[in-house]
């Protein structure tokens, strides 16, 4: 089994892939678009993409790609993200002038970085900077513990993220839909008609059928300023009779609605 992820060996997305698919072969990709392409063309069976972080919220690019893709969400998983500052073994704290990290990691460690006299460099992946760190003791990277062992580097400081409860949610994407497991969630994207109360009307079918929502997130629509699409996550499988009927009712209040996938519940959410 082959599972694609964005980033270099040791990236958090690879840790999530190995946790969800024990013993799988993981394929490293430079961009999120490459992860989608690899699954669409069948070079990988699955792709693992980060979609939400508990400090910074929705992760914009993979979420946008998911919405415009024909691939379906087939699993979810969450990972506690403990960022480390990783340096060459002989580097002293004062040596560090540059810190390479994925832009999401820079955002999650903003407080820590603001107290350091260094330049944060937005890189496609923290692990991908390991070769640079090995060559130059003025360079550090932000990444997980595994990277230090994988590339023979030192952990200069652990837990440098601004929030202790820093977690990231990942979706697994696949060309195939997943059958109902008995305890499932479904994620949809919808755009309501432009009339007052349309969102309220679109949520009514959930309330009437006692379907628990666990996430409702607005996101801007590209090139249409101040208009929003909504992502909703709720209990149930898109092939359940009650969910089919709820979705049909919601559609009446929408200009578009897309089912992004149904998948076994694996991240505990709070009913809203």
């Amino acid at each position: 089994m082959k599972v694609s992820f964005q980033g270099d060996r040791g990236a958090f997305s690879e840790s999530m892939a190995l946790k969800l698919f024990k013993g799988a072969e993981t394929l490293s990709h430079k961009t999120f678009k490459d992860v989608f392409d690899s699954v669409e063309t069948g070079r990988a069976d699955y792709g693992v993409i980060p979609v939400e972080n508990t400090q910074t919220g929705r992760i914009v690019e993979p979420t946008n790609l998911l919405i415009s893709s024909s691939l379906k969400i087939c699993k979810e998983g969450a990972l506690r993200i403990r960022h480390c500052l990783i340096t060459r073994k002989d580097a002293l704290p004062d040596d560090i002038k540059y810190v390479y990290a994925h832009p999401e990691a820079l955002a999650q460690c903003k407080g820590f970085l603001s107290g350091m006299d260094c330049r944060p460099i937005s890189w496609w992946d923290g692990a991908a900077a390991a070769a640079k760190v090995r060559k130059d003791k003025t360079i550090a990277l932000i990444g997980n513990e595994r990277i230090a062992a994988l590339y023979d580097l030192s952990i200069a400081k652990r837990d440098i993220q601004d929030s202790k409860e820093n977690m990231t949610k990942f979706f697994v994407i696949s060309a195939n839909e997943t059958d109902a497991s008995g305890d499932d969630k479904t994620t949809i994207m919808f755009i309501t008609k432009h009339v007052g109360g349309a969102l309220f009307d679109a949520l009514k079918p959930f309330a009437s059928a006692n379907i628990n929502m666990t996430r409702l997130e607005s996101m801007p629509i590209k090139d249409r300023p101040w208009e929003y699409a909504f992502l909703a996550e709720f209990k149930g499988h898109c092939k359940d009779d009650v969910i089919i009927s709820v979705i049909d009712n919601i559609k009446e209040h929408c200009v578009s609605l897309k089912i992004l996938g149904s998948y076994p519940s694996n991240v505990k959410g709070v009913a809203i």
Copy 2:
């Protein structure tokens, strides 16, 4: 009149400040926290903060500071954001090795940057890198046109943002509430009770009173994974009788609710 903004001279926030307060004295600050402090202590009359971008959505840090502050929103404004790549006058395209920009600007120009062989450096402000660019032709910055004129630099390329309709919404924050103008909006933050349907129940008073919402955005709650607060923006002033009654009704379904301010409508939204 003194108006604070985050960034150095020439930043987009300063352009917005000068558009909203003609002839005002603008005060440059390194962090968003400094902008809030300057208004709280009375060193500035107003602060201008970016809160939402049409490509990347909510701007996390200033929004979080607003929610925990006692300052109120008193104006809103939107600015079309046209990013330029700015270099030293004698720099050739192949000279550029580093691009300095605010992390929001890096996110908005992600596509353009991925096609360049350079290192994107996450800086507290694009304009603040002007002195570096003047000294070193391998360095470019991302910022608005004004920066080139202000610091005697060249515009190497215009409109490098990924979306043509790239706009940012700003709030003006003040120690004082604003009286009703007759055409106002109000923004509130609320956290619903943890029972299924609580969000639907919290939205019902808007629908019953025919109050048009123009934004409903969820945001993660710090250190409480997968729990959300909601930001709602709607027509009306918090001292209107009908809005007082609507907010009282919403509170019954919430564990907390805070009015962030009422202000004259100045950004055209779409009813949801």
